[in-house]
């Protein structure tokens, strides 16, 4: 890869044939990574198609991909701002106390629980941006949300604030020849991520295209209701591609959406002001907006949540695929990968030279959509 690209380019260290210390995507100065030329593990890289399928199967089963090492929180760059924010909070609080607006939390007659609820609501309303929080602050807001749910619904949820692990960069590959359009991934995703059932929000779209006509997205049907696989058609799934140079992140006026260290592009639902600028900026139709209050039936709520992932959203905020951050950071595959009956979906750590996704990138003819836009999606398509 050239050193002086005029545009952004994702560098995984693929296709690098010379061992240059420190230049490999895996970060290790020597060996152990498929892209170092010194001891080329040729055998590993020339797996036959059957072996590859077996590996896919295995990947579907396996859970222990990502080590659960917790990293220190983001550096609190804006210490000063946080201080000012606290000052502001106190100021408004005192003003409102004067006006009697926090009446419930001061009232003697209301019970302890009501007071606690009001207290939590108050702190949630004026908390800062998750991206800039310290690990303790992150944990505190997660605890508050869990407690709030407990108070309201009398049920417990599990919410994680796990940060990105070191040396992990998530990537995804989609096998066009395998996909049959069953849409199991779509329903698994809806369930896993507590998406609004009323508006039938779906992160994944499966486009049904005619054989022999190439990728004609504009003629494809992404909302079909017939038996699949339909004769003479092939299928292609799209979702948020977790671009490495995401335009959606650049445009957000309040930094409510950002790229995490492990490559996931996430949204802080409590910081988003709902301007939908990111939606206009996304070239891949990757984002979904809560036009009304999202509703999930009580018994269908997935209680295993992550702050940046599938926790319950409110109306007027943006959301999107997070590669199931609650699962991927716990070492599991996203729900769509697990649900796919054909093994068309492959997920893994791009920096791990032994991962299936790396094998696909190195051995298949892969391509991405709209590469000319310079967004560098971490979502590749390939065919058998």
């Amino acid at each position: 890869m050239g050193d002086k690209k005029k545009w952004f380019q994702l560098d995984l260290g693929l296709g690098q044939k010379q061992a240059v210390a420190g230049s490999c995507g895996c970060g290790k100065p020597s060996g152990g990574c498929g892209s170092h030329a010194t001891e080329p593990p040729k055998n590993d890289l020339t797996i036959s198609a059957e072996e590859f399928d077996a590996a896919v199967e295995q990947e579907l089963m396996e859970d222990s991909m990502v080590a659960q090492t917790r990293k220190d929180g983001f550096q609190q760059v804006f210490d000063r701002k946080m201080d000012r924010r606290t000052a502001f909070r106190k100021l408004t609080a005192s003003l409102l106390v004067g006006a009697g607006a926090v009446h419930t939390s001061c009232s003697v007659t209301s019970g302890e629980e009501a007071k606690e609820k009001a207290q939590i609501d108050w702190e949630e309303q004026f908390k800062g941006n998750y991206k800039l929080m310290t690990q303790e602050e992150k944990q505190a807001t997660v605890d508050r949300l869990v407690r709030s749910y407990q108070l309201r619904k009398k049920e417990n949820i599990k919410m994680s604030a796990a940060d990105a692990s070191k040396d992990v960069l998530f990537g995804y590959a989609f096998n066009i020849s395998k996909c049959q359009g069953y849409m199991d991934c779509v329903s698994a995703c809806v369930k896993e991520n507590n998406q609004d059932r009323n508006s039938q929000m779906q992160y994944i779209r499966i486009h049904e295209m005619k054989d022999g006509e190439g990728f004609k997205f504009n003629e494809a049907d992404d909302n079909y209701y017939h038996e699949v696989p339909a004769e003479g058609h092939f299928y292609m799934g799209t979702q948020c591609f977790h671009c490495d140079n995401p335009p959606c992140v650049n445009v957000c006026p309040v930094q409510a959406t950002w790229r995490e260290e492990d490559g996931l592009v996430v949204v802080d639902y409590d910081w988003c002001i709902g301007c939908r600028y990111c939606m206009a900026a996304c070239p891949y139709d990757g984002r979904r907006f809560n036009w009304s209050k999202p509703e999930v039936p009580e018994d269908e709520i997935n209680k295993n949540q992550h702050y940046l992932g599938n926790r319950l959203r409110k109306k007027g905020v943006m959301e999107k695929c997070t590669f199931c951050v609650q699962r991927s950071r716990a070492g599991k595959d996203p729900a769509c990968v697990e649900a796919c009956p054909t093994g068309a979906r492959i997920f893994g750590n791009l920096l791990d030279p032994n991962s299936t996704i790396r094998w696909v990138l190195e051995n298949k003819q892969v391509f991405r959509l709209k590469e000319d836009l310079g967004t560098e999606p971490k979502f590749w398509y390939f065919m058998d």
């Binding site: 309040v254 910081w271 988003c272 900026a281 036009w291 109306k315 007027g316």
Partner: protein
């Protein structure tokens, strides 16, 4: 201390002054208030239910609100283009027009901000946008830039006229040393707000219809046509309903600005159309949709085919001196030009940006009644603000409102 007291008096006098007036004035204000109330009621429904009460969807995620916002930024920017000749080049003709123009800019900006707030999914967390308290994505996000320039512009446009009026209110001359630097800044700033707003769209590689280098300049040209056109209409109304003297010369000079801007705008339109239709690519689909419809979806056709002929007609009529100097024709031209540009720079610009969608899906957009009423409510609010500002400044300029002359005045105005 004396200044403070004078200022307090000015506020009190103006309040007094704007609550009194002729019958037409009262009917006008009541009419606006009623529309504002309906708009507020509709907005409360929107707050309650969420933005699902609008026609917007995941496929077309900006609609009427953002269209009006974009257009009004142009009006606000253009109003100040009258400032330059008056204050700086000492062109006396424009002097009366300027205070009106700046009042118009303030009203347009108030409307802009109201439209942005109406479009937000979470107005209760808007404080996240306030620099210092929230987190501002500066300088990456064009929207962050826009918030800064719009508020800065609002500040400038309030302070300059306020200063001048305040001096006049006290019966003193406004010091040119104070306001000339201010007005030069405001003129440059006017260009900035409009360019930044254009960059908001221009910078999105995802939307080929907007990702077009001509967008910014074309914004400016159309704004300098539509804004002064509105000013002419407003001046005409003021001439009719108050004793404020506005010379024909002033109006014909502004008409000159409108004409030149409209001509440039037309040239750019031709250039755009040529690029989209001479060698159409995938990226021309949005333009195709706008002008001819795609796959039988033709919601925008009536709009754009109203706008284009009106635009051409107005430009052609304005080009001829004879016609332009006839006030009747002039007012008519200004009106149709204003409407044409409102369609073109609002609806005709924002909606096709989303159609076809990133994967070619064609989903149309039609505003709902709630959306339309909120929009009308905000326009009424703008008109309300403007009427108040204009009435006060006319009162001061005519000498009806003067510090320590209250007694005499009372008997005059009522």
């Amino acid at each position: 201390m004396g200044t403070f007291r004078a200022f307090r008096h000015m506020v009190k006098d103006s309040l007094d002054y704007i609550t009194h007036g002729s019958k037409t004035y009262h009917i006008w204000m009541i009419f606006l208030t009623v529309i504002m109330l309906i708009g507020m009621y509709c907005y409360s429904i929107q707050l309650d239910e969420g933005l699902s009460v609008t026609g917007m969807t995941d496929r077309v995620s900006w609609g009427l609100y953002i269209s009006n916002f974009t257009f009004l930024v142009g009006v606000a920017a253009a109003a100040v283009m009258l400032v330059m000749p008056t204050y700086v080049l000492k062109d006396i003709d424009f002097k009366q027009a300027v205070l009106i123009g700046e009042g118009l800019a303030v009203a347009a900006l108030v409307m802009c901000l109201a439209f942005v707030v109406a479009d937000m999914g979470g107005p209760s967390v808007l404080w996240h946008m306030i620099p210092g308290i929230g987190v501002f994505n500066f300088p990456n996000s064009m929207l962050a830039w826009d918030v800064i320039v719009l508020n800065g512009y609002l500040f400038i446009n309030i302070t300059i006229p306020l200063y001048i009026l305040f001096r006049h209110y006290q019966g003193k001359e406004a010091k040119s040393k104070v306001y000339i630097p201010g007005s030069i800044i405001s003129v440059l700033w006017a260009v900035a707000i409009h360019l930044v707003t254009a960059f908001l769209y221009e910078g999105l590689q995802a939307r080929p219809f907007w990702n077009n280098a001509l967008l910014g300049p074309r914004f400016l040209a159309s704004a300098f046509a539509a804004g002064p056109a509105l000013i002419i209409l407003v001046l005409a109304a003021i001439r009719k309903f108050s004793e404020f003297k506005i010379e024909d010369k002033t109006i014909s000079k502004i008409a000159m600005i409108v004409t030149v801007a409209a001509q440039i705008n037309l040239i750019m339109l031709i250039s755009e159309l040529f690029k989209e239709f001479y060698a159409p690519t995938h990226h021309s689909e949005s333009a195709y949709y706008l002008f001819f419809g795609l796959e039988g979806k033709t919601a925008l056709l009536p709009w754009i085919w109203t706008a284009i002929p009106l635009n051409v007609l107005a430009t052609v009529l304005l080009t001829f001196h004879k016609l332009r100097n006839n006030t009747k024709v002039l007012y008519f031209c200004c009106f149709i030009l204003f409407v044409a540009i409102w369609i073109e720079k609002g609806f005709g610009l924002i909606v096709p940006g989303f159609i076809p969608g990133p994967y070619g899906k064609i989903a149309e957009y039609t505003p709902t009644w709630i959306e339309i009423w909120v929009t009308l409510g905000i326009w009424a609010m703008g008109a309300f603000v403007f009427t108040m500002l204009a009435k006060t400044s006319i009162g001061i300029e005519l000498g009806k409102l003067r510090y320590k002359k209250k007694k005499i005045l009372k008997s005059e105005t009522v």
